[in-house]
Symmetry: C2
Subunit: 293 residues, 2 copies
């Protein structure tokens, strides 16, 4: 599962390139610190645009020129690449009058994600569709949007720390005990139950109890255990790693309490992890996904 | 998770034994073919009764005499022992005026189950509470009843086959691949989503796609693969093993279609499995659980 949150995101503009049918160029990228390639076939927004053109079918009547303004930091565990891909696919679709639905655009985003973070829909599907998305299968694609009735808030604290991506992946076990699999299956079920019933407490508790990934990735993020404890001591229903980290995410139903949780998490990162913090935000569950602004 | 179904079940009577405070005796058992012990401490209904007395607390003012009439066959994978335990706990509680809730009686049933099929609430919790029960943890006990809005039917086909219990357990892997764990976690989430949304098709599909237990237990039940296929060909939304088998269970939302599915499953057991069939029933999801009759 994955979900989308309100607030900062990536902004893509797409304009017609009349004399180069089918071509996709990236005119400019802001906010990436010069780290992203301007070559369309090597950039997640470019790949999503190219794949969307394929999905639209036929001979393209024009090419597309893109600009990208990053609102989400790279390598933060907040699905930055998916945000770009979702915006790119949505912008290209919009340029051609919006013939494809968001569901139909997911494969374009999946192809983009495959080149940067693996073939999985956890980030791209919620970035496009908004809300919580249960992903049953990527191949064939089988996803379902789950509505959370009510308000849900996340506290996202992004420390100044370059997560060792290779190590973050390498540390994931190839095999897990049956006991762990059963526990996490129960937590997966609890998460769905929490979401569909609008139960923030249960949602947080389910996210808090992962016994497969968090125990091996948490120790790679300085101060993580203290941050998790601090969030819960401050009233969070649960706290875990956002994506592959290093951002930590806590769950609450009260934005005021969220501010206190954020402060406690920042303090724990500083004191226990010896890490400064890039950002600490209280954000609402997003129900819209990609949109034209 | 587990769920309860309407139809045949176990019937327990409890009566006061005035002169033996705290004692539990089993007066008679019908329908077990003489296989169950009449010694209370070695019988699931007796243990549940003894444990319920403990839960009631204080010095018992009397002893209890029990009779048990088995409606569910032993060793069938339909939770026969849990049915007895639930009825026993409920009957003893009722005899003392019903001070405990069904939730409070679950530990008594758990203690009983521990002696016959392991410490797990999958059968006893739904047998007591009815409906679908999501079990997040047995220790501490953390369960939730999930309502299925609408009608759901199960086709239960019990072949004449002594499931090799030891082998059924031994064949379960201690370790599973991460890929399998993720798949089954997604199916666990899908099952909860199907139940809470009253989506029989999704419920069936989630139950149909277990990639951890069914692939190793299925081959131990003669004809299972054909029975599963026959059920789906006849319109079932999914088919899997009930409990540890040998009973097979298919999912539908239409009792008439259920009869056709039952016939197809029986036919497959006979032709592919070379097994006769004890019973083939179309039963509705039960929403009540243990009750006084």
């Amino acid at each position: 599962m994955g979900c989308a949150v309100e607030g900062e995101g990536d902004i893509v503009t797409a304009s017609v390139l009349p004399d180069r049918p089918g071509a996709v160029i990236i005119e400019s990228i802001q906010g990436d610190g010069g780290r992203l390639s301007l070559e369309a076939s090597k950039n997640c927004v470019g790949i999503a645009a190219l794949e969307t053109l394929k999905l639209l079918g036929g001979q393209p009547s024009c090419g597309i020129s893109l600009t990208l303004k990053k609102g989400l930091p790279l390598g933060s565990g907040m699905g930055s690449s998916a945000a770009s891909a979702a915006a790119g696919a949505w912008a290209v679709n919009a340029l051609f009058g919006g013939p494809l639905t968001k569901e139909q655009l997911v494969p374009a985003g999946l192809a983009s994600e495959a080149t940067v973070s693996g073939y999985h829909a956890d980030n791209i599907a919620p970035a496009l569709l908004g809300g919580f998305i249960l992903i049953r299968s990527c191949n064939p694609l089988d996803i379902q949007r789950l509505s959370f009735p009510g308000d849900l808030y996340f506290v996202l604290v992004n420390p100044v720390f370059e997560a060792p991506t290779a190590e973050m992946r390498a540390v994931l076990p190839k095999m897990v005990t049956m006991t762990s699999a059963i526990h996490n299956c129960a937590m997966g079920g609890s998460l769905v139950a929490g979401v569909l019933q609008g139960d923030a407490e249960l949602t947080g508790r389910a996210l808090d109890s992962d016994c497969i990934v968090e125990p091996v990735r948490g120790p790679l993020i300085p101060g993580f255990a203290s941050v998790k404890q601090a969030a819960k001591d401050a009233g969070a229903y649960g706290c875990t790693i956002s994506g592959a980290g290093p951002t930590c995410v806590a769950v609450t139903d009260d934005p005021q309490k969220g501010e206190r949780i954020a402060a406690a998490m920042v303090q724990a990162f500083v004191s226990s992890g010896k890490l400064a913090v890039n950002s600490a935000r209280v954000v609402k569950l997003d129900q819209v996904g990609a949109k034209t602004v």
